[in-house]
């Protein structure tokens, strides 16, 4: 194999996972990691429960770029953006004008927070948290404040809501859907987690959207589509993620919802790869940690010269809401089936089954989460 460097664009969990796995297999191969930010290593899932786990932006950072570069024996270039990929010459252009050659290129670009268009003179003051630097701004903004409104009752919105009420903030959550976690839970599960989060102090405003954010003195006034108004100190938007695909598109690399890759995690150029939140693997965009772990291992083997397709087992997702422990293995809704739901006072066990009672997915809340491993063993793999 050639000894041109493996260049990894991105220093999030996906970029670091590939670097770590590849270094285990190839002790000498040059690896260059390019990062748009500080390039340090941290775990993004920890941002949404840092208050209740007693973590600060400084303690979330596991190692800065210098430490990580030494540990993994790689070169890390912080504050460096890639402006173009030249496939025919196997080079990339950097924002400082430099050209860099690669033997194999890995796109671990991540995803952007979707930014909803809002009216009002304070629309630009709406915060979102997509990385550690954002989180630092958010924590700075929290100092001395009391009331937080969160737009979006999905995974991140609910986790932040729970974390903030646990630290005694007053929290409002606004969502256009009829229930929290609408994309993951059947209605009975949505109602259950809503009740549990309300019991610890979260205020939900459902079936409505935020229209306008106005600054009034020190405060922000939100006007909702249903006519309600909410006064807040801070507004946090958490309405979803969009894979970063622009760099690939500009290089004529095939893009659908994410950067299109096959089971070897290869784009149509066989020395350009993608994984993590930016990638669409065999039609699936899975913005969670577990798929990254599996993809990084397979990709590292492939990069080291041993082509290895990625296989995904069932990969249940944990929702970090201590007020209501929740585990979801979202079914592939292209396969027909239906929810069978058992609700009691302490939990919800929702099983998504086909006509022959084969388990295709589940949502477990409260005490039912105890069965997560036993049931996971019955789930089909996400990607064979």
């Amino acid at each position: 194999m050639n000894h041109e460097p493996v260049v990894i664009i991105g220093s999030g969990l996906a970029g670091y996972a590939v670097a770590r796995e590849l270094r285990k297999l190839e002790s000498e191969l040059p690896i260059i990691m390019l990062s748009a930010d500080h390039g340090g290593f941290y775990s993004k899932p920890m941002l949404s429960n840092a208050l209740s786990t007693g973590k600060t932006p400084d303690t979330i950072l596991n190692g800065d770029a210098v430490k990580m570069a030494g540990q993994l024996k790689i070169s890390i270039r912080p504050h460096c953006r890639v402006t173009a990929i030249d496939q025919s010459n196997n080079t990339i252009m950097l924002d400082d004008g430099e050209k860099l050659s690669y033997g194999q290129l890995v796109m671990a670009l991540g995803a952007d927070q979707i930014c909803l268009p809002l009216e009002g003179n304070a629309a630009s003051k709406v915060l979102s948290v997509n990385d550690l630097d954002d989180y630092r701004c958010f924590r700075d903004a929290l100092v001395g404040k009391k009331q937080i409104s969160i737009i979006g009752a999905g995974l991140i919105g609910c986790e932040f809501a729970n974390d903030l009420v646990s630290a005694d903030y007053q929290v409002h959550v606004i969502d256009i859907g009829a229930q929290p976690l609408g994309r993951l839970l059947p209605p009975a599960g949505g109602t259950f987690i809503q009740n549990k989060l309300e019991a610890v102090g979260v205020n939900f405003h459902l079936n409505t959207s935020t229209q306008c954010v106005e600054q009034v003195g020190e405060r922000l006034h939100l006007t909702l589509a249903n006519g309600e108004t909410i006064e807040s100190d801070i507004v946090l938007s958490a309405v979803g993620l969009r894979p970063r695909t622009k760099l690939a598109e500009m290089a004529d690399i095939k893009v659908n919802r994410g950067i299109v890759v096959n089971q070897l995690l290869q784009t149509q150029s066989n020395n350009i790869y993608a994984l993590g939140d930016c990638a669409e693997v065999e039609g699936k965009v899975l913005p969670f940690v577990m798929p990254i772990t599996h993809a990084a291992r397979a990709m590292a083997a492939t990069l080291a010269g041993n082509p290895t397709p990625v296989h995904y087992p069932a990969m249940p997702v944990l929702v970090k809401t201590p007020a209501c422990p929740t585990v979801v293995s979202p079914p592939d809704f292209s396969i027909s089936g239906e929810w069978h739901v058992n609700v009691d006072q302490d939990g919800v066990k929702a099983l998504f089954q086909d006509e022959s009672s084969n388990l295709l997915g589940y949502a477990l809340l409260g005490t039912a989460t105890k069965e997560k491993n036993m049931l996971a063993a019955q789930l089909p793999p996400v990607l064979m």
């Binding site: 775990s43 920890m46 429960n49 772990t293 944990l318 491993n373």
Partner: protein, 55 residues
């Protein structure tokens, strides 16, 4: 008994509890957890855990 936390997802391996569902009996020292054991919550390797302070 010590505790170790997954740096990726925050899962805590408590030696006094082990991970019985994956064949690791309660009371198993961290050093005796096999190298190919992975985090039951996010799948990362044993190397991606760090020791927590005694509680």
């Amino acid at each position: 008994m010590k505790k170790f936390q997954c740096m990726i997802c925050g899962f805590v391996y408590d030696e006094s509890i082990g991970d019985p569902e994956h064949g690791i009996e309660a009371g198993t020292c961290w050093a005796d957890v096999p190298e190919d054991w992975t985090c039951p919550e996010c799948g990362v390797a044993k190397i991606d855990f760090e020791m927590l302070e005694f509680e």
